[in-house]
């Protein structure tokens, strides 16, 4: 169980990263029911491991570690258990006031295409693409996966090419700097 401080920390943290929960869940599932189940499991695992978070890595890095590991494990063993569980979270989509509806529709369509492409990628590439789309640096990606930054460069380059091919678009050169 978490004390009140940790609980408010978790709530703050979730406000910043809640979208990532849903994104990872969508990237690793094919139906909305599965997505909801997986998102709940990620939340559960994040809550469970919160007391062990020592701040050695950034909250975003730590979250992705938990989320990706949970997502990959969940496929094989957690489905039967989750069918008996009450819903833990509610997901709402709040339209942005700043963007016009036409632009929003276009972005939504692009995101849908991205998810389709991610489902078609090899799973390592899928993980890297998720981190890349979330604008993580090479060092953060390396920290999530536990590999060297130069290795991230090699793999990400290939993943981006694969994504571009699936999206029917050529990747632009040098569009991601290590920052």
């Amino acid at each position: 169980m978490l004390d009140e401080d940790n609980q408010s920390l978790f709530t703050d943290w979730l406000e910043k990263h809640s979208a990532s929960v849903i994104k990872v869940a969508r990237a690793y599932t094919l139906s909305s029911d599965e997505c909801q189940d997986l998102a709940q499991e990620i939340l559960l695992q994040a809550w469970r491991s919160m007391p062990r978070f020592e701040g050695k890595s950034s909250p975003a890095t730590w979250f992705y570690r938990v989320a990706l590991h949970t997502a990959m494990n969940w496929h094989r063993k957690d489905r039967p258990r989750r069918t008996h569980q009450q819903p833990l979270l509610e997901v709402q989509t709040v339209p942005s006031e700043s963007a016009d509806s036409c632009e929003q529709a276009e972005q939504r369509e692009t995101v849908e295409q991205l998810y389709k492409a991610i489902h078609g990628l090899p799973k390592t590439d899928a993980a890297l693409v998720l981190l890349y789309l979330d604008e993580m640096s090479y060092s953060e990606m390396a920290s999530v996966l536990g590999i060297s930054e130069s290795n991230v460069g090699v793999k990400l380059n290939r993943a981006k090419k694969a994504l571009a091919a699936l999206m029917n678009a050529a990747p632009s050169e040098g569009n991601h700097d290590e920052s």
């Binding site: 709530t11 496929h75 833990l88 789309l133």
Partner: protein, 463 residues
């Protein structure tokens, strides 16, 4: 569209998502999942260590109920050794996966280490798990065969049969573990090694980075940690071996036929009829069962067990599972009946009283020699019937049952004796003779037991 645009669209979509959660419910779920995990690990350890530990009191109970030779107790330290070995191994190489929050490469290496250790355990299962109980149980079987057999053939039959029984059982356990190493653990190890190399190295090999496979392996290690498979794959395997009632019939019919033959054509020198019936049933049962197992293995070669969740054994498989338990219980009961019979044949306690036997045996020489020429009939048997006391707790009870002279001994089973002459009657199952002292008329006044070159006199007592 450039990749930058994808990032922008992705970010814009993310900013529109809002997630709310119920903190109390989440706390309860965390507690529940932690308890479930603890329970999983606890019951796995109970299965593996507990079986060995719980066998020890059972062994003591049986050893005190049934007269067993000292070699019975050799198996107790063996149980302690197995339980201790597993406990120490679990302490040095914990099989439970680490909690979330580590880099993915960490889990890959952790899983690889666990799989490699599991392979080592199973490859060496002969030395730490099979050899010690084989030696102690074989010593027990040979000891029992030696005590209970009246000749070399009986000893070879009982000792060899028991040895064969152990060989089949332990051979099967060894084979199934090596099968698991070859077909489950070794491929997983290769896969994990490739993935670790891929994650650690700078290579661009496209065929070696399926991280889903990596974590599938992690999940499999989590569920399959230890020596026993998970419930779903276990059930699926049983359903493969016994898919229908046809397989049940293929096992039960030869088993019943064997049991009938063992009962109908039992041999007096091979132990109690019950023992022979069970042995004759167990042999075809094992042949048919392991034959079907082998066929199932060949039929499903290359099709790994992938069941999860709600898979349960079907009705025919449950029948055979119950039958295996029943046959195991009967096999144990048969062994004990054999040991019991062997104990009664050896005439326990005779050596204790042999010191004063010679003097009394001398009196038996005063028997009326002519009595040995008397005709063997109902009248003669009536003169022999009665109770003869060797010591207060060792009394021969001689009775005439439908023309058969039956001799019961305190706390031992009743056996028939056969006439060599009117006064000398011998057992057939053991080398021992009873010599009655008959006067010119009236009942016999005493009997002398001749066994192992020793004579012991028991005097008639009142009923």
């Amino acid at each position: 569209m450039s990749l930058d645009k994808y990032q922008q669209a992705w970010k814009a979509e993310a900013s529109q998502v809002k997630v709310t959660f119920d903190a109390n419910l989440l706390s309860k779920e965390v507690w529940k999942s932690r308890e479930n995990f603890r329970s999983l690990i606890f019951w796995r350890d109970v299965r593996e260590v507990g079986v060995a530990i719980w066998m020890i009191p059972g062994w003591f109970v049986l050893g005190n109920i049934i007269p067993v030779p000292w070699t019975w107790w050799l198996t107790v330290p063996v149980f302690l050794w197995i339980a201790g070995f597993i406990l120490v191994d679990r302490k040095l190489h914990p099989q439970s996966p680490s909690g979330p929050g580590e880099p993915l490469l960490f889990y890959a290496i952790e899983s690889l280490t666990q799989v490699e250790h599991q392979i080592w355990l199973l490859r060496n299962i002969f030395w730490w798990y099979l050899l010690p109980p084989s030696l102690s149980l074989m010593a027990f079987f040979v000891h029992v065969a030696w005590n209970g057999s009246s000749n070399g053939w009986g000893f070879a039959l009982v000792g060899g049969g028991s040895g064969l029984f152990l060989l089949v059982i332990y051979g099967f356990i060894y084979w199934i573990n090596q099968w698991a190493v070859r077909n489950q653990l070794e491929p997983r190890r290769q896969q994990l090694m490739k993935l670790v190399a891929s994650l650690e190295g700078e290579s661009d090999a496209a065929d070696s980075d399926d991280i889903m496979e990596l974590v599938s392996s992690l999940a499999a290690t989590d569920q399959n940690s230890g020596l026993s498979p998970n419930w779903a794959t276990w059930s699926q395997n049983w359903n493969r071996i016994i898919p229908s009632w046809r397989e049940v019939a293929l096992i039960i019919v030869p088993t019943l036929a064997g049991a009938y033959c063992g009962f109908r054509y039992s041999m007096p020198e091979a132990g109690p009829v019950f023992f022979q019936s069970v042995v004759a049933a167990v042999i075809p049962f094992e042949i048919m069962f392991f034959g079907l197992w082998h066929l199932s293995y060949r039929r499903h070669k290359g099709q790994p067990l992938t069941a999860t969740g709600t898979v349960r054994p079907n009705a025919p498989a449950i029948v055979i599972l119950v039958m295996i338990l029943l046959m195991s219980a009967l096999a144990f009961a048969a062994i004990f009946s054999f040991v019991n019979a062997a104990g009664s044949r050896s005439g326990s306690g005779l050596n204790d009283i042999s010191a004063h036997a010679d003097e009394e045996a001398a009196d038996a020489k005063d028997d009326d020699e002519s009595a040995s020429d008397l005709p063997i009939n109902e009248r003669l048997r009536a003169r022999l019937v009665g109770r003869y006391q060797l010591t207060p707790d060792f009394i021969f009870d001689v009775q005439d049952h439908d023309g058969h002279l039956m001799v019961g001994i305190t706390n031992q089973s009743t056996q028939e004796v056969y006439p060599d002459s009117a006064t000398k009657w011998s057992y057939r199952s053991i080398e021992a003779t009873l010599e009655f002292k008959l006067g010119r008329s009236g009942p016999a006044s005493q009997l002398t037991l001749h066994q192992n070159g020793i004579k012991q006199v028991a005097r008639r007592i009142k009923k």
